[in-house]
């Protein structure tokens, strides 16, 4: 049973220096209780995709095509009031940089309560809920009365997570929730997200540039490059059967404990999306590229059940 269904989503930024195609024809589905990792390097469109799921793409960006079907309703067709009811309560977001996600002039409790009251929680219950969820993310009650600058990065991220789960949303979009934190706190936060998934049966979209993290935590992985989906499969399938050259390159770039050589890096740079290369967006950096790759956009092919790859040479390369 899918909670979220994204269908042929296109997002473009209409900047003065040209049109940037940030998300190009992305489709995926998210099951209840599933953790989907969207993996890609900077500029691959993964964060824009995350914002598009809430119809929150900042100007000059625009969603030009596609559907985001949540519980059978296309979110992109809702009017501002209806979508506001969904934001934060049924689909919530945890942002990348905890240092700037909280209003520096207001106490934690004020921000938290404002949000709850906005979503129709009765005033008498508000304080209890704040306490309950701060405790659920492992924070003591005292920090309620703190200002954001009095908390550490990890604590702030926990506050954001507490707010993200407080109304028991069906979908939580975690946009690089651990990138700005040190490794020990990273693990704690990811463990917390895992436990939330177990406890509240929420579906989680984990947006990350870290393939290792995705392989460790997610159920399903979608690899993006230059706004296009490169490969999309369940984790075990992807891990044992990586088909796309880009996924392989990402995987080979991971450092390994039992390997003496340095990890292999992928030469070149991500594409300039104002002026994308013709054909397959990845072909300039692909070691297997042939003439066809420079001319034709490869379709997303289902190579085995629920394993999609967008590559012309997927049949030849194993």
């Amino acid at each position: 049973m899918e909670i979220l269904l994204v269908n042929d989503l296109w997002v473009k930024y209409f900047t003065l220096s040209g049109v940037v195609s940030a998300v190009s024809g992305v489709s995926f589905k998210l099951r209840r209780g599933e953790m989907l990792a969207i993996v890609g390097e900077s500029g691959s469109g993964k964060s824009t995709l995350g914002l598009a799921l809430l119809n929150m793409v900042p100007k000059p960006g625009r969603i030009i095509r596609g559907e985001v079907v949540f519980n059978g309703v296309d979110i992109l067709k809702l009017d501002p009031r209806e979508i506001r009811k969904i934001r934060g309560s049924r689909i919530s977001v945890v942002f990348q940089d905890p240092f700037t996600t909280l209003d520096p002039l207001r106490r934690i409790v004020d921000q938290f309560e404002e949000f709850l009251i906005e979503h129709g929680v009765e005033k008498v219950k508000v304080r209890t809920i704040v306490r309950e969820y701060l405790e659920a993310v492992g924070l003591s009650e005292r920090i309620m009365y703190s200002y954001p600058h009095q908390l550490s990065g990890g604590q702030k991220q926990r506050v954001s997570i507490a707010m993200a789960i407080a109304l028991n949303p069906e979908v939580i979009i975690a946009d690089e929730p651990t990138t700005a934190l040190d490794v020990v706190v990273q693990k704690q936060i990811m463990d917390l997200i895992d436990s939330i998934k177990e406890k509240y049966k929420s579906s989680i979209i984990l947006i990350t540039h870290d393939l290792a993290l995705a392989l460790e935590r997610a159920d399903t992985i979608m690899v993006m490059y230059g706004g296009y989906v490169m490969e999309y499969a369940e984790k075990s399938e992807l891990f044992s059967n990586m088909r796309h050259p880009y996924t392989r390159a990402l995987f080979e770039a991971l450092p390994r404990v039992l390997q003496r050589d340095l990890p292999r890096s992928l030469p070149g740079y991500p594409p300039d999306l104002r002026n994308p290369p013709p054909g397959c967006i990845f072909h300039p950096r692909c070691e297997f590229a042939v003439e066809k790759c420079k001319r034709e956009l490869p379709p997303l092919i289902e190579v085995s059940r629920n394993h999609f790859v967008s590559c012309h040479r997927v049949g030849e390369l194993l």
């Binding site: 940089d97 996600t101 207001r106 906005e118």
Partner: protein, 284 residues
């Protein structure tokens, strides 16, 4: 317990504010004039509109600032004159502040065509020499204190608009605003509760600086007889009347109104300077 702690913290904050020498001296000057205006009936020794002595008397113990050409006490006229000055400035600054802030918030937050149109109008007003525009508006509306206040307000709306709009543009892109949106907080609330509080500190600086400006503009309008009608006491108009006697050596008729205008403007400027040092750490 938390209430006493809170009031203690407020007290500490007030001490910090008043320890600032600029703010303290500025406030003393401004409050001096405010009390003068409120208590005019009690402190002024004579009626400001009647001849109370011989004309053109130099300052003496009887007439602290001398008398003017009609034999009226200059000191009493200064005291009563503060009323009209403070009233016009207060109304003008409140109006331009309110309009400029609201439009700046809307324009900066919504952006788009509305922003372009508003910015264009504001920039056009701003590009005009403010005094010339104030005089022109005042003349067009007809001489009266309230019309002068409106003219001054119109002239200074862009000052607030530009400042607020600029701040909104930078605050708008902060992640906590995006977060508020993602939490489903409506735009009006975001603007009022999440953006406006960040603007208030800068707004205070502009507010007091602008008051100093408005005083000078009001004085200029009065000088041209565009606010009150004689014999109502008014610093700017008294300044105008006094100019004919300066060359004859009767300096007091012009000096004291001029001094009052300058002092009050300096008072506001000092507050503005003090607040701006308080809120920017580099200047501390």
């Amino acid at each position: 317990m938390s209430r006493t702690r809170r009031s203690l913290r407020l007290l500490l904050r007030l001490i910090v504010v008043f320890k600032n020498i600029y703010i303290l001296s500025g406030l003393i000057i401004v409050l001096l004039f405010v009390f003068m205006a409120i208590l005019a009936d009690i402190i002024s020794p004579y009626s400001p509109v009647e001849a109370v002595g011989l004309p053109l008397q130099p300052p003496s113990r009887l007439y602290l600032m001398g008398t003017d050409n009609l034999g009226r006490d200059v000191f009493s006229r200064i005291i009563y004159g503060s009323r009209i000055m403070l009233m016009i400035v207060a109304i003008a600054v409140a109006m331009s502040g309110a309009i400029g802030t609201v439009l700046g918030l809307i324009s900066g937050y919504l952006g788009g065509l509305l922003d372009r149109i508003l910015s264009f109008i504001m920039d056009s007003i701003y590009a005009f020499p403010s005094l010339v525009l104030a005089i022109a508006l005042s003349v067009a509306l007809g001489p009266s204190p309230i019309n002068a206040a409106i003219a001054i307000a119109v002239v200074y709306v862009p000052t607030y608009f530009r400042m607020v709009r600029g701040q909104v543009l930078s605050i708008k892109s902060e992640t906590y605003i995006e977060m508020a949106k993602a939490l489903g907080i409506p735009s009006t609330r975001i603007v009022l509760k999440h953006i406006l509080p960040h603007v208030t500190r800068t707004l205070m600086v502009v507010f007091s600086m602008n008051s100093a400006d408005a005083i000078l503009t009001e004085a200029a309008l009065s000088f041209m007889g565009l606010t009150v009608q004689p014999p109502t006491p008014d610093w700017g108009f008294d300044l105008y009347k006094g100019r004919g006697f300066v060359l004859a050596g009767m300096w007091w008729i012009m000096l004291f109104p001029g001094l009052s205008i300058t002092l009050l403007a300096v008072g506001f400027a000092l507050i503005s300077e003090g607040v701006s040092t308080l809120i920017s750490p580099q200047k501390r």
